[in-house]
Amino acid sequence: MDRRRIRVLLVEDEEIHRVVARAVLRAAGVEVEEAENGAEAVRRVRESGAGGGSGAYNLIFTDKQMPVMDGHEATRQIRAMGVATPIVAVSSDSLPPDVQAFITAGANDFTPKPLTKEKLGHILAKFGLA
């Protein structure tokens, strides 16, 4: 797949994580848009023309702990809109209960922070975006 056509939504409140993840994603050649909390992510997905299908984003990365709306709730709301876009949780909490909570909310996968070139490569390949 031509990576220039891959649109990724990065949902992360902390600047240091946005800066690192943005650099990893851009180095991989994908187009990055950002939301600083779960509510903004839900709004972006809704406004992207989502619903009843895969929406405008090819992949969503979301943190867990965020102000306004956390990653779990954002994931639930995005799924409730009928959006099937792969959602990957990226969090420092990587114990089994943390991972399971995200999967239960509707995420497809989980990767511990920080996002790296190698982790991104696996994720893109897993979801047919490589």
Partner: protein, 151 residues
């Protein structure tokens, strides 16, 4: 100091960070992301860590001193610190944060206090080392830019 001596010193310093367990592979990953379009990327990310971490350590200390204890808040703060440290590969900080989180889980305030003191010491040492490292890098940067411009 001449260029080659500076370069050797930088290489030695960086190797010591890894050998002494201050930094892990994530730091190398950041360096791989640095290029002509973002020539100071690593220093910028480290600067973000050094901006976030003192504030978080202060907040943790303040929260430890409160009564009744708020272990949920403490866990949240150290979670942020752990994540921030992980972004630059600050492995000792990250490991001490994990120890602190375990004490929070056990509601062990004294354990949290001891862990905080270790975190503060690790942070001070790491800050000093990284600042020295980037100070040296800034000395070679103009010369490397001149060399690259001639290519």
């Amino acid at each position: 100091m001449d260029y080659s001596t500076l370069r050797r010193q930088i290489t030695f310093m960086k190797k010591s960070f890894f050998d002494q367990g201050y930094l892990d592979e994530q730091f190398n990953q950041l360096e791989e992301l640095q290029d002509e379009s973002s020539p100071n990327f690593v220093e910028e990310v480290v600067a973000l860590f050094l901006k976030d971490s003192p504030r978080l350590l202060t907040n943790i200390e303040h929260t430890i001193g409160k009564y009744p204890q708020d272990f949920h808040r403490l866990d949240s703060l150290v979670h942020q610190l752990k994540g921030s440290g992980s972004s630059i590969g600050a492995v000792r900080m990250k490991n001490e944060c994990s120890v602190f989180k375990a004490h929070c889980n056990d509601k062990n305030l004294e354990g949290c206090r001891r862990s905080l003191q270790r975190m503060k010491r690790e942070h001070a040492t790491l800050k000093q080392k990284l600042e020295s490292y980037f100070q040296l890098l800034r000395q070679v940067a103009p010369r490397e830019h001149a060399v690259n411009s001639r290519k």
